[in-house]
Structures are given as structure tokens and as C-alpha cells.
Symmetry: C2
Subunit: 352 residues, 2 copies
């Protein structure tokens, strides 16, 4: 099982994107975010996407050197058109703009449309938290989720992210889909030949299923809350569609030809409400009290949103990132086509 | 079973609050919002609260004529201190301020602290939607929910609300707790002697329970997502604590002496992103497509957030609002103490 240093994967990915026409800085940014996902344990958003992105470039959909246009702008808001550029590039630009505006005007909303896949939301909301602000994001994408009571794919997994600065505690970073699970989870179960927990998906006829294959044969993921209170997850998912698919000027999940992400970003400058040092102390105290709760049987500890990722990253930086053989072979194949000498990387990787 | 016209209940409630020192305009506002909750089918937030509010006034906690202070303010934000005034009065003022600021500056956040119970979030977010804007609210309150993996009451039911203007379709108004259910639901089950669905609560030892009594004997409500994916609801609930309990300068649910609501309001002026008429058309199209989904067995239709309340209100306006005997008797008792002649109301009510 090949394990790689994060830097190695970043370099390989970077070289591939450059060979496909991406400016060096963009190739580096996209690669960094993809590898960051692997580091955090979210392999579905990791370097496996290099294969998909390259295909999208070859098909002429993804434009690695696209210009980013600001369509509308006020002191507190902006609407960006990505012109089918890398989602990571457009989204980072959008979040930086939002941070800049919130620094001056307390609150800001920046939306973006017509961009490709942008990866994990946490990467962007954390930028705000690193600047002593609250970062908020909602993103929609292609449809995979049924409305509560329905059996058609009409909503996306519609993730929401919030990131908050802390004092001594780990940063509080929530990044969750508003469905029972992300599509990546279904795919991983399929590849591993495992069953899904009950309540995650239904088959094309609306019958409960634990077989991930049923999802890919016309089934759907259920909204967060499942049979019992799925109207809550459905309501949140529909909210994301409106914020990230309509307000953003992008497409809704159900609309024909929906590709990439519609993006809603918001930033709030904490210091204009309460002093940031007081905020840090109080969020630390909240986290500590929550973590000190008496536990239910079967639980070893209470994890704050963002903690599992921090721990996984520590391990993966130390031990290297495991990339499945098949994914690795496809990446090597792409590199070969572009005459990228991958041997140096491979040697270094395998010696790890 | 006494049924009452909405206007009758409003008048009685109004007279009671005035007799307890509330300025007429405030008494009217609070009464209107309480009766609105009854109309919408959320009796736990209805006139039953008159009894609780009167008690809070008698105890000297709730100040019916409290001044509202603006502690901090920017062009796009404000922080309000309610000085233990009626939550409805403080919250409506906060939302109106947010709407005014968003009209001028596209986006606004207004937080409020030190206020009493404010009722349903939807009442405030809808004000924004009625003004062609997006209304957002998060509110915390006393603790009743356990963190994912814990068995202590450390979080509130932490509701979130979003309201969006539409064109021909009903207004899309989401107003949900981020726990498996609101506390009102547990109380209703207790009073009716019914069991709760599995997965809503655990008893004081962390064992699953369907007996609402177990909640009132030290048990807790579980976060949205339950055993399977309760970390999602937990993450959302914790987010609400930070936004409505810390950024707002209020208390977190776990802190001693937490009473009333901490409030986070946000308003976004749609027209600064896309023309409002285009927004209306697209949200209408989204709603229609979702509602036309093929249905799962056991479902008759797909309801958009806010629809059940609109339907219930239509029925209750027509047939009157049912108030349980015990609640009614307690309200009559309060009126008598204040020499309010309730007979005219009662006759009118019962003749309905």
C-alpha cells in the first residue's frame, strides 16, 4: 500500500495541472487543497480528484486559466463569475474578498457562480477564523438527495460550514452535508464492498436500502433526519439551494447541466460585537464544558467539530497519506502522457 | 372543548399584560405573536405562555416596560441589550433595525441579549422576507440537549430559521430546532400520556427512552441525526450557542442562570445580488419542481417549510383556536385577579 508525503503529492499534482495549462500559482493552490483533504481523512475530496479535473480540462469544460469577473459589488457584498475556472481559485478569491469587506464593514456576503468543483468548505471558512472572524459557507452541486417524502434526486448533499476562532482550544470548524451522508461515503462503501448503515439511502423505488449499488442505480440519499425528522435536513438542504444556487446566480441542483459548485460565503467581524479576546475565552470555556460532559455508554470522548480532521492530519503528516493502487496508477498514467518524470517522486514516496 | 377566535385571545392577553404594567403597544405585539403561534399549530409557543410571562413579571424577572439599549452599532450591525424586557419587543426591534441596515448596506447582523422569551423565530425572519430580503435567525435558550456522545443537558434545542420571499408560491419559511425535537413536543406527549418516537430522548443514565417522563427526570433530548449522525445536529447546535450565546453577548445554555433567549439575526438584501423578480421566478420554479417529485410510499405530498403552518392557520382562523381547559382556567384566574371582565370574551368565544 503506497503511502506518500503530503509534499510529494502536492508536487505531482501541481506539475500535472501546470502541464494542463494552469498558471503555477493556481496549480499550487488546487493541489494544496486536494492534498489537505487527504491529510484530514476526506479522501473523496483528495488527489483522486486530479483524475476528474484533468478529464474536465480535456473535455474543455474546466478552464485552468479562466479570468474571474466581479459582476456586482457593494461595500459589503460581491457576486463573482468563475468562467468555469478551478473552484478552489474562485472560492479562495471570493473568501478573501469577503474577509477584506468584513474587516472594513463588519459583515459581508460574497457569492460565486460558474466555477468548477471547489473541494471542502472548511478550507475557506477557516481562512475567516484565522483572521479573527466567523466564516460561513453553503454550497450546492449536482443532485443526489431526495426531498422529504420524495424519491427523485432533486437536491444536492448541500453542505454547510461554520468556522470560529478559539483561544487555546482547537479551532471549531463545522463542515457537514445536510443529507444523511455525503456521496463520497456511498462511493467508499461501494468500493470496499461494505453495506451502508440503515437510513442513509433508498433505492430507485423508494425502498430503504443498505446496498450502495442501489444509489448508483437510480436511488437517492435521504435528507438529514431520515424517516423520522427528515423534513429538517430537507429544509436545510433547500435553504442551501436558494443561497448557493439562486442568490449566487448559479444553477439549482435539479436544473439541467448543473456542474461544479454554487457558492455562498459570509464573514462576520467578531470585534464589532464583542472584543475578540472575550470571544476566545468564552468559546474555549464552552468547548471545555462540552468536552467534560458525562459520556454515554459506547463513547470514549466528545469531539468538537473539526477535531477528527486535526487528529487525522497529525497522523497522516507523520505516517504519510495512503493512496489506493488504482488511484495512484491513474495519476501515474496522466503524468506519463504529459512526460512528467514521476520516478523521483515515486522513489521518495515508497522509501517513506 | 373551548375554541376561540384569534382576535378574542389577542384581546384577553393584551388586557392582562397591560394590567401587569406593559405599555399598550407592547402588550399588543406580544399577544399577537403568541396567538399567531396558536394559529400556526405551535401551541407550546401560544397563549399558554401568558401564564409563564405573568409569573416572570410577578417574580420581578421580566420587565414589561424595559428600555432597549443599543450597546454597539456600525452601519451594518448592532448589539442590543433588552434589560429583561419582553423578548418579542426586543427581537422585533432588532429585526427591524437589521432590515433597515440591509436595505442601505446589503447585509446586516443584529444581535440581542438580556431579553425574555421571544417566541417563534419565523415571526421575525418573515419580516425580512416580506421586505424582499432573506431573513436568518439563530436563538439559544435554557439547556435541554446533550452533546453527541454525552448525557448532560449542555445545549439548547437551538433553533435556526430562514425565510425567503417567493413569487406565486407560499413563502418559504424554515424554523427548526437542531435537536431531534423541540421541548414542547416532549411536554405535549407527557400531557397526552403518549410515547415519544424512538430516538428523540435518553434518560438520565443515557439509555434510549420513549417515555417523556424520563426527560423531566434528568434525561436529555438528542441532537438532530440521533445515534447515527447526531454529530451533525450537535455541530449545528454548538454553532447556534456561539452565534446566539457568545457573539450576542448573552449566556450559553450551559451557564448558570441562563434565562430567555440570546439572539442572532441576519438580513441579506437580494436585489444587490440578483434582481428580486428573477429571484422570485427561480425560487417558485424550485418549489414547484420539488413539490412535483415522485413520492415515497406513505407520503401524500411534499410540503415546503412553512406550508404546514399556513394550512393550519387557515383552519384555525375558520374554526377557532382550541385552548385546553386547564390553560384556559389559569388564564381566567389571572384575569380575575386583575379585575378584567372576561365574560364578554367568554360568551363570544363559546358561542363560536
Amino acid at each position: 500500500m503506497p503511502r506518500f508525503k503530503a509534499e510529494t503529492l502536492e508536487e505531482i499534482s501541481e506539475k500535472i495541472f501546470i502541464s494542463y495549462g494552469a498558471p503555477a500559482e493556481r496549480a499550487r493552490l488546487v493541489s494544496k487543497f486536494l492534498v489537505k483533504a487527504n491529510l484530514c481523512g476526506h479522501d473523496s475530496h483528495g488527489v483522486i480528484r486530479v483524475i476528474q479535473y484533468v478529464k474536465a480540462i480535456e473535455e474543455g469544460y474546466l478552464k485552468p486559466d479562466a479570468k474571474i469577473d466581479i459582476i456586482r459589488e457593494t461595500e459589503t457584498s460581491a457576486l463573482l463569475r468563475g468562467n468555469r475556472g478551478f473552484g478552489q481559485v474562485v472560492a479562495k478569491r471570493a473568501m478573501e474578498l469577503a474577509i477584506e469587506k468584513a474587516r472594513k464593514k463588519t459583515v459581508s456576503v460574497v457569492c460565486a457562480f460558474d466555477l468548477y468543483h471547489m473541494g471542502r468548505l472548511a478550507d475557506y471558512t477557516m481562512l475567516a477564523a484565522e483572521n479573527d472572524m466567523i466564516g460561513i459557507s453553503m454550497v450546492n452541486s449536482a443532485p443526489s438527495v431526495a426531498p422529504y417524502g420524495g424519491i427523485e434526486r432533486l437536491l444536492s448533499t448541500a453542505p454547510i460550514s461554520y468556522a470560529f476562532p478559539t483561544g487555546k482550544e482547537n479551532m471549531f470548524v463545522l463542515d457537514i452535508s445536510t443529507s444523511m451522508c455525503a456521496e463520497g461515503k456511498v462511493r467508499v462503501s461501494l468500493h470496499k464492498g461494505e453495506k451502508l448503515p440503515e437510513g442513509f439511502i433508498i433505492d430507485k423505488n423508494g425502498n430503504p436500502s443498505t446496498n450502495p449499488k442501489d444509489f448508483y442505480e437510480g436511488g437517492t440519499i435521504l435528507p438529514l433526519g431520515g424517516d423520522l425528522v427528515g423534513y429538517k435536513g430537507f429544509g436545510l438542504g433547500l435553504t442551501v439551494e436558494v443561497m448557493a444556487g439562486i442568490l449566487s446566480n448559479d444553477k439549482c441542483a435539479y436544473e439541467a447541466g448543473k456542474k461544479g459548485n454554487g457558492v455562498f460565503f459570509e464573514v462576520i467581524n467578531i470585534n464589532d460585537f464583542i472584543p475578540i479576546e472575550r470571544f476566545r475565552k468564552r468559546i474555549d470555556a464552552l468547548i471545555r464544558r462540552i468536552k467534560s460532559s458525562k459520556l454515554r455508554a459506547g463513547f470514549k470522548e466528545i469531539l468538537i467539530p473539526g477535531e477528527p480532521e486535526i487528529r487525522r492530519e497529525r497522523v497522516n503528516r507523520e505516517k504519510g497519506i495512503y493512496i489506493p493502487e488504482r488511484t495512484w496508477n491513474e495519476i501515474v498514467e496522466i503524468a506519463k502522457r504529459k512526460n512528467i518524470d514521476i520516478n523521483a517522486f515515486i522513489d521518495e514516496a515508497l522509501s517513506k
